[in-house]
Symmetry: C2
Subunit: 222 residues, 2 copies
Amino acid sequence: MLSFTEENYLKAIYKINEKTKERASTNAIAEIMQTTAASVTDMMKKLSNKNLITYERYKGSKLSSQGAQIATSLIRKHRLWETFLVEKLSFSWEEVHELAEQLEHINSNKLIERLDEYLDFPKYDPHGDPIPNAEGKFTLREQIKLSQLNIGEEGNLIGVQNHDDQFLEYLNELNIKLGSRITVTKKVLYDKTYNIIVDNEHTVQISEKVANNLMVKKILAL
Amino acid sequence: MLSFTEENYLKAIYKINEKTKERASTNAIAEIMQTTAASVTDMMKKLSNKNLITYERYKGSKLSSQGAQIATSLIRKHRLWETFLVEKLSFSWEEVHELAEQLEHINSNKLIERLDEYLDFPKYDPHGDPIPNAEGKFTLREQIKLSQLNIGEEGNLIGVQNHDDQFLEYLNELNIKLGSRITVTKKVLYDKTYNIIVDNEHTVQISEKVANNLMVKKILAL
DNA sequence: TAATATTTTTAGACTGCTCTAAATTTAGAT
DNA sequence: ATCTAAATTTAGAGCAGTCTAAAAATATTA
C-alpha cells in the first residue's frame, strides 16, 4: 500500500513525462511537489527500491511499468471524480480540481468501477481530457488548437490545454463551454487576436494565448 | 487543519462517550484505535493543547464543544457517504463502512452540502443511524429493541445496533432489511429464541442476541 | 579546457506518530 | 490499611517525510 505522498510523487513524474518525454529532473519534481530537491532525492531512492521508478544519480527518474500503471489509475480516479462532481453535484469545471486531488487517493477498485458505471463510462472529463479505462487505455481524438483553424473554418471545443481556475472562469464569462461550436471569422495580424463566433450566437475577440489553449475538433465543410 | 489521525482519535472518543457517557479511558481509546496506551497519552496531550478535548492525567478524556463539533461533522460525512454508496452506487449495507472511513476525511463543506442535497437530505443512513444536519442536530426517533415487543405485536425495522459485516450478511440471508415489517409470534423461554414473521411473507427463528440488535418502531394496533 | 554556474546529492536535524520498557498512579482485595 | 493488580504515563527510540547547509557532479561559457 502506497502513501498519499508516494502516489503524488508518481503522478508528478507522470505529468513531467507527459510533456517532456524525457526523464524527470529532481528539480522539476520538486517544483511540482512544492518541496526541496533534497526531499525529492530521498523519495526517488524509496520509489526506486519499490521498483516504481528507474532512478540514476544525477540523471533523473522515469516511471517503471508498474509505476506508470499506478499513475494512470490515479489519473483515472481523478478524472472520474471530476466528472462526478460536475455532472452529478453541479460543480463548475474550475472548482473540481482540488477536490479530485483528495478523492483520487480513496482506495477501492470496486468504488471506482461503480462510479464509472454510474457516470455511464465517460471517455472524457469536464475539461475534455481523456479518462483511461480500467486497463489504462486512453481514447484519443483528433484535436487541434483553435489557432490552427483558418478563417471561415469551424470546430467543436473538446478540451482546454490550461486548467487554471482563472482561465476557466474567463471562458465561463465568454460563454464558451465544452461542446461549443466555434467559428473563426478574423485573425488580426498586428496584435494577434482572433474574432470568433460562439454557438452561432455571439461574437467575441480572444488573444492568441487563449486560442492556443482551446482544443477543437474541426467540423468539415459539406 | 487536523490530520486524518487526529480526526480519528476524536471520533473514537465520541464513540466511547456515546455508550458510556463517562470520560473515555486511555485504554478504551487505544482499543478502538488499534494502538498502544502510550501513543494515546501522547495524542491526548496534543488534542488537549488544541482545546479539542479536556484531559486530566489518569482520569481520561472528554470532547470539548469544539471537539464534539468536529466529531459530529465526521459522523455526518460518514453517514452521508454511506447513504450515497448504497443509494446511488448500489453497494450493500455491509460493504460501505470501510469506504466511508476513508471518504469521511475528504475536506470540503461545499462537497458535503452538495452531496446532502443530491441525496435529498436523508435523515437516516443505510443502517438506520441518524445523520446529523449541517448544524450537528440529530433527528431522533422512538425506537425499541425487537426483543421488547410482546407476542402479537409488530414493528418496522428502523436500525441495527450492531454493524458487523457478518451480522448484516446474516440479515440479508433472512431477507430482513431496513423498513421490514416484523411480527413477533412466539418467544421460546428455555432457549430464548424468537419466532418472527418478516413482511408478512416468511417466518424465521432468531436468537435473543439478534432480537436485541434489531431496533424497531412499534406499529400501534388500530 | 579551465573557470563558473547550476543541479543534484549527502549529512544531519526536526516533526508527527508510533513503539517498548520502565516508572507511577489508581483501583481492588484481603 | 496494606498489598497486589490494573491502568496510565514517562522516557527513549524508530520511521516517514521534511528541511538547511555543505559537498559533489554536471552543464555552461569564456
